[in-house]
């Protein structure tokens, strides 16, 4: 969009919102939030950026084809879900580090799972919205 103000603002908004989305992601296990909402927020952040600068520019920023974010995220999810198989437990069984990490809290398979969800949601939101925005 050819709006100077908007463009200038988006430059600052993008990192801020991404940060916020990670925040939402990490605290999901303790407070409202989680992979979904976090992922959606990240998606929205990139979307706003793309409104300001156009899709090409935003794609450059993301560096990785958002299409590949989806399988990557899903892989993380699946690995997190299947990790218990190593110790002959049913899938999705929670595996946790004994001690909590600072500011992240307890780290376990569920967290990785949520991260996977985050990536998938970012990827698919971007694919859907970008594809559409492309045709407008």
């Amino acid at each position: 969009m050819k709006s100077l103000i908007f463009r200038t603002a988006s430059i600052y908004l993008l990192p801020l919102l991404l940060l916020f989305s990670i925040f939402i992601l990490l605290r999901g296990h303790y407070l409202p939030g989680g992979g979904f909402v976090g992922g959606l927020m990240a998606g929205v952040a990139f979307l706003i950026h793309s409104f300001a600068f156009g899709l090409k520019e935003t794609r450059n920023i993301i560096k990785i084809n958002p299409g590949f974010l989806m399988p990557i995220g899903l892989t993380i999810c699946v690995l997190a879900a299947l990790a218990p198989w190593i110790v002959s437990l049913p899938l999705m069984t929670g595996l946790w580090f004994e001690e909590p990490f600072k500011f992240v809290g307890m780290v376990g398979s569920a967290l990785f799972f949520d991260i996977g969800v985050y990536l998938v949601v970012v990827g698919s939101t971007l694919i859907i919205m970008f594809t559409i925005a492309d045709t407008v």
Binding site: P71, L74, P90, M92
Partner: protein, 501 residues
């Protein structure tokens, strides 16, 4: 018996789809990988089937939470059998796809979606949780949406519109049904629900909920008067996609219906009568549709409907004998319908037209191919001793025993219409000379060797399977009988999930 690895069929196809997505820009690699994955997937399904057959039900509780708190997965005989059949269909279709699918479609996610679809089916067959079942259903329908519209041809889009809207409607009803079941029982675990729903005093509510499920699954399995999406859409996508749809999609609806109505909503006479009536109407309506069509895909599409009626006849009668018939027919139908649509695709290609009026001369030109085609065609009709025959004996017998003469009449009538339709197809497409005016097809001789094998191998593979089903009917019957017995008495299923002795 507890076994954490029984969800391997699900996870494997998910992994397969993920890997295929990473190969997004390499159609050739995707083709090879898809065949490879389908083979391995078949191996896994065989493993699971054998495991269940020899050692009984296999259960795993996701997250290691005891049922009914977590999501339970169970491989029972029905589930593992259907899983095996899906793998068989997938193998055939993925081989067929490598030669029949246009490169563009492969570049736009055909194979990953295909494997996602199978993953969804496997999930639906293995899960023992109603809401999880819903989620698997959604995977199945969204994949089918994608496959159906892949390429975006005019007819595809038009068909998809009806397909999508009615299937979404069904999903909504399903979801509402789940909510009500949760409200009534406070549980989502199928086994737990089966136990708790009996305690609900306000039976009217249970019955109304059953009505919602009937319609939700009725739409998905193309029951009269809810099948409209099927004739509108099944003939529109490429043959490989139609084939997998024809083999599996409506069947998963049937599966869900069988599960719900043998475990949760049992002892409901009104529903049994309704199902019988709908089955009869479905058979007749599908048959009537089939005899009117000229488009090969639509003919077979209506026949799917007709035969869905057979499946539901057994459920409506609801005796063990009847369920044997239903299960046998289900097994037969998956294999044969898949094959049939592959064959239809090839016939279309060879003659250059999907309309039987414009087809012709196949027999004169390709006698051996025609004989190969005859196997699925006449298996469908159920010319004894081919696979379609056996189940009908059970169904007719069961309907006689419960004195549902309307069903006997419709089964006989439906069989007759099928026979007539297939004979007409044979007479038009194979016997008749090719009309001069019609567009010419692609002669077989111009196919490359790779293409020839890519087409023949799946057809032969499925034909052999269906011949096996027909000629070794004894084995299939014993399988179907075991499944039917398990369905009639779900206590084993319930106990293994809830971990009771």
């Amino acid at each position: 018996m507890s076994n954490p690895y029984i969800i391997l069929p699900i996870v494997f196809h998910m992994a397969a789809a993920v890997i295929l997505m990473f190969c997004w820009f390499q159609p050739r690699v995707q083709k090879l990988l898809s065949i490879l994955f389908s083979l391995i997937g078949l191996g896994i399904s065989v493993w699971l089937f054998r495991l269940v057959w020899h050692e009984g039900f296999q259960v795993t509780q996701a997250g290691n939470w005891d049922a009914p708190f977590g999501i339970s997965f169970i491989a029972d005989t029905l589930g593992s059998t259907l899983g095996l059949l899906s793998s068989i269909s997938l193998l055939a279709v993925s081989i067929f796809s490598t030669v029949s699918m246009r490169e563009e479609r492969i570049k736009f996610g055909y194979f990953p979606t295909l494997h996602f679809l199978i993953m969804g089916l496997q999930g639906a067959f293995l899960t023992a949780d109603i809401f999880n079942l819903y989620v698997w259903f959604e995977v199945v329908i969204i994949s089918s949406f994608v496959l159906l519209t892949l390429g975006g041809k005019k007819t595809q889009l038009e068909g998809a519109l009806k397909y999508v809207s009615l299937n979404l409607l069904a999903s909504t009803f399903f979801l509402i049904g789940i909510a009500l079941v949760y409200g009534l029982t406070g549980s989502l675990n199928l086994a737990d629900v089966a136990i708790k729903i009996g305690a609900v005093e306000n039976r009217g509510l249970v019955n109304m909920t059953a009505g919602l499920f009937l319609v939700a699954f009725g739409i998905k399995s193309a029951l009269f008067p809810m099948y409209f999406w099927l004739p509108a859409s099944y003939h529109t996508p490429p043959a490989a996609i139609s084939a997998i749809f024809a083999g599996l999609l409506t069947k998963v609806g049937v599966y869900a219906m069988v599960r719900m109505f043998t475990m949760v909503f049992i002892g409901d006479t009104f529903m049994s009568i309704t199902l019988s009536g709908l089955a009869a109407l479905t058979i007749i309506s599908g048959g009537l549709g089939a005899i009117r069509q000229q488009h090969l895909g639509k003919i077979f599409g209506y026949l799917i409907i007709c035969h869905i009626g057979f499946l539901f006849a057994g459920l409506g009668i609801f005796t063990e004998l009847a369920l044997v018939g239903t299960i046998f027919y289900l097994i037969h139908d998956i294999v044969v319908k898949t094959n049939l649509f592959i064959v239809a695709g090839l016939m279309n290609k060879l003659t250059g037209s999907p309309f039987i009026k414009e087809q012709g001369g196949l027999y004169a030109k390709y006698p051996l191919l025609s004989l190969l085609f005859a196997i699925p065609l006449f298996s469908l009709v159920g010319i004894p001793p081919l696979s379609g025959f056996w189940a009908k004996v059970y169904l007719i017998q069961a309907s006689f025993e419960t004195r549902e003469f309307l069903l006997v009449g419709s089964i006989i009538f439906g069989s007759f219409l099928t026979l007539w339709v297939i004979a007409k197809v044979w007479s038009e497409s194979f016997w008749k000379d090719k009309p001069e005016a019609s567009s010419s097809g692609k002669p077989w001789s111009t196919f490359s060797t790779k293409e020839k094998w890519g087409i023949l191998v799946p057809i032969m593979f499925l034909s052999i399977v269906s011949l096996y089903i027909g000629l070794a009917a004894e084995n299939i019957i014993s399988l179907a009988s075991r499944i039917a017995a398990e369905l009639m008495d779900p206590s084993a299923y319930i106990n293994s999930i809830l971990g009771m002795k």
